[in-house]
């Protein structure tokens, strides 16, 4: 099934966002809404109040439900170490919060339902931070929190989330965000990560890339990055890279140019080296605001 969905937003007179135009096409079915009007192909249109995206209403129809599910399944993460530090009330942990604040809930749920995933998360954590050999959840009910076991630990004590580094918590947040996807219903359609390399040791960026590549077998992942170290991988498929530029006040996103692709395909350098030389640029203008 092939379809498209677009949303054009501008600033209204009271500085609130206003939807100028919304269009959805799935096969021969479509709807287009503009302030005060909606055009569509369906026999009976759902009720539409105009104060929210039309997809919220049209998404109840069978032909547009896949688009609604896809858009509502977009999840964006930027784990915030300060929100992850304190203990939290025990919850269901069905979905990681965008700031990672319910990491302990999600870890408990994964440990119970998919111990293979928490085993893998632990392996990546040990790769990120060799000083830790394990992570679990400690509790003083009704609160719980992540607790980390040092590798060298004759006294068998653990370090609580309130006392570990920002990098450790961000690494856990990212690992939970990307590996939880296989277990979430309704399904996550795409995970967005903003600069996942932030607060990570430069030597850990290759481990981060491995984790992203592995988790992407279960869910599409889009990550924005400024890290040349993250892109310093030979054999990184050039079609995995989208370049971003600001041109004439518009954000332009697109595949890299043919000469840049050829340089990568011929292994003359890595994408990281192109980035260091400011040579990762969009080849064509795919404009979005």
């Amino acid at each position: 099934m092939v379809g498209s969905y677009s949303l054009k937003i501008s600033e209204g007179p009271d500085r609130a966002s206003v939807i100028d135009e919304e269009h959805c096409q799935v096969g021969l079915d479509y709807f287009t809404s503009r302030p005060g009007s909606v055009d569509h192909s369906v026999l009976t249109a759902p009720g539409f109040t105009g104060d929210r995206p039309a997809l919220v209403s049209f998404g109840s129809l069978t032909q547009f439900a896949p688009v609604f599910n896809l858009v509502s399944g977009l999840k964006f993460y930027s784990p915030n170490s300060e929100r992850m530090r304190p203990g939290t009330l025990v919850g269901a942990g069905k979905l990681l919060a965008s700031d990672g604040s319910n990491a302990a809930d999600v870890f408990v749920r994964l440990e119970r339902t998919r111990p293979d995933l928490t085993t893998r998360i632990r392996e990546y954590l040990r790769a990120f931070i060799p000083e830790f050999r394990d992570v679990n959840v400690a509790d003083t009910l009704p609160y719980h929190w992540l607790a980390f076991t040092p590798a060298s630990n004759p006294s068998h004590w653990r370090i609580n989330s309130s006392n570990v580094s920002d990098g450790t918590l961000r690494a856990m947040g990212i690992l939970l965000a990307i590996f939880q996807a296989a277990t979430v219903t309704p399904a996550i359609s795409l995970i967005g990560l903003e600069e996942p390399e932030s607060n990570l040791h430069p030597a850990a960026t290759a481990i981060l890339l491995d984790a992203l590549l592995e988790a992407s077998a279960s869910v599409p992942i889009v990550a924005s990055t400024h890290s040349a170290d993250l892109l310093d991988r030979k054999n990184l498929p050039e079609n995995m890279i989208l370049a971003v530029a600001l041109q004439d006040g518009k954000t332009v996103i697109g595949p890299i140019s043919e000469s840049e692709k050829s340089t990568l395909q011929r292994r003359l350098c890595t994408a990281g080296e192109l980035l260091r030389n400011n040579r990762l640029t969009p080849a064509a203008s795919t404009s979005s605001k």
């Binding site: 790769a127 296989a182 290759a206 592995e214 077998a217 310093d232 030979k234 890595t270």
Partner: protein
């Protein structure tokens, strides 16, 4: 008990943890009565070692960081001719540092080909299928990492930074020596270093 000090120059992030494990295993097989001291591998990206002065500057840095150590350079041959590239890098290393013993080993086509050569010994481990057997020409497989991924369930993956070290700990060295010429080369180079002490 004789003391052996080995430093290494590697390309891949996975090799940083994996190669010392492998070196230690090979040394123990050749001579179990050694005091082996391994420096943490120094890593340089794949293109930089081959470019003009890239190998030379890297060797100088490894030597400066680890005075008195023998040096092993381990890179993947990828699509290059292993013999030609190997000879060129050995010549450059000798010219740059005639005072040092520098071994150059090219894994053909990549480090993971050694795992393929000993695939039966990894069967059932770390998500690999239990009836795993080695491909006919393990060193001719173009994407050894991809081959390993295909021997796992679809949602699992071989990740060098997490899996290369445990695989290096577990694969059968003798099987790899039998089926991989580049692994034989690594073995011979380590033997040479140990015999020179």
């Amino acid at each position: 008990m004789k003391t052996v000090r080995i430093a290494s120059l590697v390309e891949g992030q996975g090799e940083v943890k994996a190669f010392p494990i492998l070196l230690r295993r090979i040394c123990a097989e050749i001579d179990s009565n050694l005091n082996l001291i391994l420096a943490p591998p120094f890593r340089r990206p794949f293109a930089s070692i081959r470019e003009v002065n890239g190998l030379e500057s890297a060797i100088n840095r490894v030597a400066a960081l680890n005075p008195g150590y023998d040096i092993v350079v381990l890179i993947d041959s990828d699509d290059d001719c292993r013999k030609h590239l190997g000879n060129e890098l050995v010549r450059r290393a000798k010219k740059a540092r005639p005072d040092l013993y520098v071994s150059v080993v090219l894994a053909h086509r990549e480090y993971e080909a050694w795992f393929l050569a000993a695939a039966e010994s990894l069967a059932g481990k770390r998500n690999l299928k239990p009836d795993l057997s080695a491909p006919a020409n393990p060193e001719n497989i173009r994407d050894a990492k991809g081959w390993l991924c295909k021997q796992m369930p679809e949602t699992k993956k071989y990740s060098p930074t997490v899996d290369q070290a445990p695989f290096s700990q577990g694969f059968d060295l003798e099987l790899a020596r039998t089926r991989s010429r580049s692994f034989q080369k690594l073995w011979k180079e380590v033997e040479t270093i140990l015999q020179a002490i």
